[in-house]
Symmetry: C2
Subunit: 345 residues, 2 copies
DNA sequence: ACCGGCATGGCAAGCGGTTGCCATCTGTTG
DNA sequence: CAACAGATGGCAACCGCTTGCCATGCCGGT
């Protein structure tokens, strides 16, 4: 019946074990690791050696209790399934690792409630938080920021440090690209109203359009997904525009499909530009022209910022850190066919 | 210079605060939460109420120290950037959340060393580990499993519980699908030699091919990426096969592109089947026929298994939990053109 | 009236580090 | 040679929660 308690998981060695083996007090062992200068160099060396022999590793939990330093950062992702976030996570993870931190990933599943609950569970265990694509309200975010140093990605929240990509510049490049190709009017396909980025992009497009003398329409909002884009295709068809800029790549991809299904050719009849350069943007036919954000750099920047605050720096809340965007031109954009792009028939 | 210590982060209430407010001993408060039956129902209720008023939340770190129960699980991902893992993470995350656990995500960045180090840092803080697409050796994995309950995903390691999708069945379906379309020969494009799944898939294909009377070739190994697939296109061209099954979707997608670039039509000249049904498989032209694994279910199953072990169940190491696969037929497969698929000219 | 047993709550000893403060020793300095 | 500062190590009190064990009170049973 009862098996003879086989490969028992033995207790790992503690500072007490090391102290005994080295003939010093536990506190000395502790200091040998956490406050190197505080103890005689030779003693420290000896302790280190013995600790290594015993296979001692400082228990992060035990350290965390009195000091609050858990060496963990939470990274909240709006939707872990969305490939857009992969590179951000990668960047965050590597910056964290460099600083000896570990990333606690929280998937918000695109839901305010889920996000709150998951964050709540994770919060007490982490030293800081990165919020990306948060669905929470500004005030909820400020609440979080009160409890732990927080950095917001791709969104600006008053009094909370943030890192964003240069939407305005990206949009300007996209608009200029279309104008250069000869388009005279462009339609913006909007994403979720609640999205900070959507507002930002729309505003930037308005400015750019004014500068370039482009006529502008806007349809939406649509869900920022491929089906959402297919939905939008209908609206775009009605507009009769020769060029479209979508809130993000998913929307743009869905849009292209919807258009093509309706017999509209891309880019011959309609040029399409997306945002984000997700994995997949280059896979579709035609390849999607899109505004790429420096995803990995964003992740890094966010974590770096967090860590510097943890190190005692003042959080930079005055204005967001903005990282440059880049226009990736692929086959989904081209010159307008004659007779289109000059407004409704 | 020194700012007047503004919105000070105040210490959150502890069981001591609650105990004082309720006029009981701290131990009673503790029990009111962790061992409900152990304390008088009314007392417990009162304590709960007061705790709620004070905004008390049990500090997971403090709980973890004496008990070792951190309520955290590590999930090691071979490459967080690979969309394949997104759904697995989602499944794992939700199963974990249901059980009150939080996921610590570790990105191995496709590197043995990175994986080891990151895991090492995370290990002491978690109660269990899910390894997906691990790059570590079997013995390294067994080491990990000795330290913490571990479940391996999509790989079998002796003495370590694992969850895999039914590669054999999936492969059989793919092979039969091709046979039904009239193909008489198929080429397998192999992935990394070190990959457990690759070996599994190749073996299964051999069996299926024998059953169905298909002739079989194998080329590779190639890196399991889109560029890897483009590379493979050349080899496939030389084989002159009418149907190809690739180790995974990335390879298959790259392959299709390479083929198309060389003027070979898919599926008219060559049919292509992939594995995994990643985001993107349906975006390419033509849509990729692929063997889909129940990703989310796998993630769930792994975490469920882990949690049951943590709950005292005996780990199921005898044989892997195998989840059914599914063939997703899209446009990349069709009947062979006459004159092809009957072997080399 | 006495005893065993159960329900309930408190005491105190951890869990494994960290750290303020004190004791000791050594080397300076006047 | 006394006074003193700096370097080094130890003591012990935490951090917040868990839990084995004991004390008390109350009940039914004999």
């Amino acid at each position: 019946m009862a098996d003879p308690d086989p490969p028992e998981r033995r207790h790992p060695p503690t500072i007490y074990d090391v102290a005994r083996a080295a003939g010093v007090a536990p506190s000395t062992v502790s200091r040998a690791f956490s406050r190197p200068g505080r103890v005689n160099a030779e003693t420290a060396e000896r302790i280190r050696r013995i600790a290594a022999e015993l296979g001692y590793r400082t228990n992060p939990l035990a350290r965390a209790l009195p000091t609050g330093r858990t060496s963990m950062l939470a990274c909240v992702i709006a939707d872990i399934t969305n490939p857009f976030y992969g590179e951000i996570i990668r960047g965050a993870e590597s910056a964290a690792a460099e600083a000896g931190y570990v990333l606690l990933l929280v998937d918000a599943q695109e839901s305010d409630r889920q996000e709150r609950e998951a964050l709540d569970r994770a919060l007490p265990a982490v030293e800081g938080v990165v919020l990306t694509g948060s669905r929470m309200s500004d005030s909820a975010i400020r609440m979080t920021a009160k409890q732990r140093p927080t950095v917001v990605l791709n969104r600006e929240v008053a009094d909370v440090p943030s890192v964003v990509s240069d939407n305005a510049q990206g949009m300007r490049m996209a608009a200029r690209h279309l104008a250069d190709l000869g388009h005279r009017a462009v339609t913006y396909v909007a994403g979720p109203e609640a999205s900070w980025a959507d507002g930002m992009r729309w505003r930037s497009l308005r400015e750019a359009a004014a500068e370039l003398g482009l006529r502008l329409n806007r349809i939406g909002p649509y869900p920022p997904t491929i089906p959402g884009g297919t939905l939008a295709a209908e609206g775009v068809g009605r507009q009769g525009a020769s060029a479209v800029i979508a809130y993000n790549d998913q929307l743009a991809i869905g849009l292209m499909r919807g258009l093509q299904a309706a017999g509209v050719r891309v880019p011959e009849d309609v040029s399409v530009v997306g945002f984000d350069n997700i994995f997949g943007a280059e896979l579709v036919t035609p390849g999607l022209t899109t505004v790429a954000a420096p995803l990995r750099a964003q992740g890094r920047a966010a974590v770096r910022g967090l860590i510097s605050v943890l190190g005692g720096a003042r959080p930079r809340t005055a204005q967001a850190v903005v990282l440059p965007a880049r226009l990736v031109v692929r086959a989904s954009t081209g010159g307008p066919a004659p007779g289109r792009g000059h407004g409704r028939p």
